[in-house]
């Protein structure tokens, strides 16, 4: 894990997470909020995938595999699970926003709010 080239993905992770958090805390539009959460999820997934990388590694599949180091398979399994969960979460959030829009006619997190205090 030496060499600066391998740190570039971590910078991308930091950028993605930073952008996502900024979107989540600043955007009042609920669709944009969901986009922020999806970007956050991508950042975390990229983080997990990058952890498993080994220098010059190949995909961890034995079928017709060439010789060489393989990258770690466990982070890829974790990422896949996380993606699957992310699909379910995003679908649920978007359908809730659709119904909220039907009720309130607005997808602004302040204007569509009914409860406070």
């Amino acid at each position: 894990m030496t060499g600066t080239i391998f740190n570039i993905p971590f910078l991308a992770v930091a950028a993605l997470v930073g952008i996502a958090l900024y979107i989540i805390i600043s955007q009042r539009n609920l669709i944009k909020l969901v986009m922020g959460i999806t970007i956050l999820e991508s950042g975390v997934n990229l983080f997990l995938i990058t952890l498993g990388y080994r220098a010059a590694g190949i995909a961890p599949i034995y079928t017709n595999a060439p010789e060489g180091v393989m990258v770690l398979p466990v982070p890829q399994a974790l990422t896949l699970t996380s993606i699957v969960i992310g699909v379910a979460t995003t679908a649920l959030m978007l359908s809730m926003i659709m119904l909220t829009y039907r009720h309130t006619g607005d997808i602004d997190s302040e204007k569509s709010r009914r409860m406070k205090g």
Binding site: L21, I25, R28, L30, S109, E110, R113, K116, G117
Partner: protein, 110 residues
């Protein structure tokens, strides 16, 4: 456990039952002129006609009015902080994560 050594709910219940028995004893020695369904059970308000049930019931937001008035300086900012906007919830979360990480870092330095 030390705290449970002197705490016995059975004793408490026995004391309660004894207390109820004593109260009942006092109550049974009272006058027995009370009759149901007569004017004795009607509401008496200096001869005025009592207001409707709707008006008589003390509503929830009137209870403890003075308490909230006295603690106005506490309540106003607290209720204002409960904005109900989802973005603000996440701001609180991120702030607390940052504060906790900084505290742990400072403790580690010293």
């Amino acid at each position: 456990m030390a705290s449970l050594a002197f705490w016995n709910p059975i004793a408490c219940i026995i004391a309660f039952v004894v207390l109820v028995a004593i109260i009942y004893l006092f109550r049974s020695r009272g006058q027995k002129k009370y009759k149901k369904g007569t004017a004795q059970t009607q509401i008496f308000l200096s001869g005025e006609k009592p207001p409707d049930a709707e008006q008589r019931h003390i509503r929830a937001h009137n209870i403890y009015w003075g308490f909230f008035q006295a603690l106005k300086q506490y309540y106003d900012p607290t209720i204002k902080a409960h904005t109900g906007i989802i973005n603000d919830y996440i701001i609180w979360f991120i702030t607390l994560v940052a504060v906790t990480a900084v505290i742990l870092f400072i403790v580690w330095l010293t």
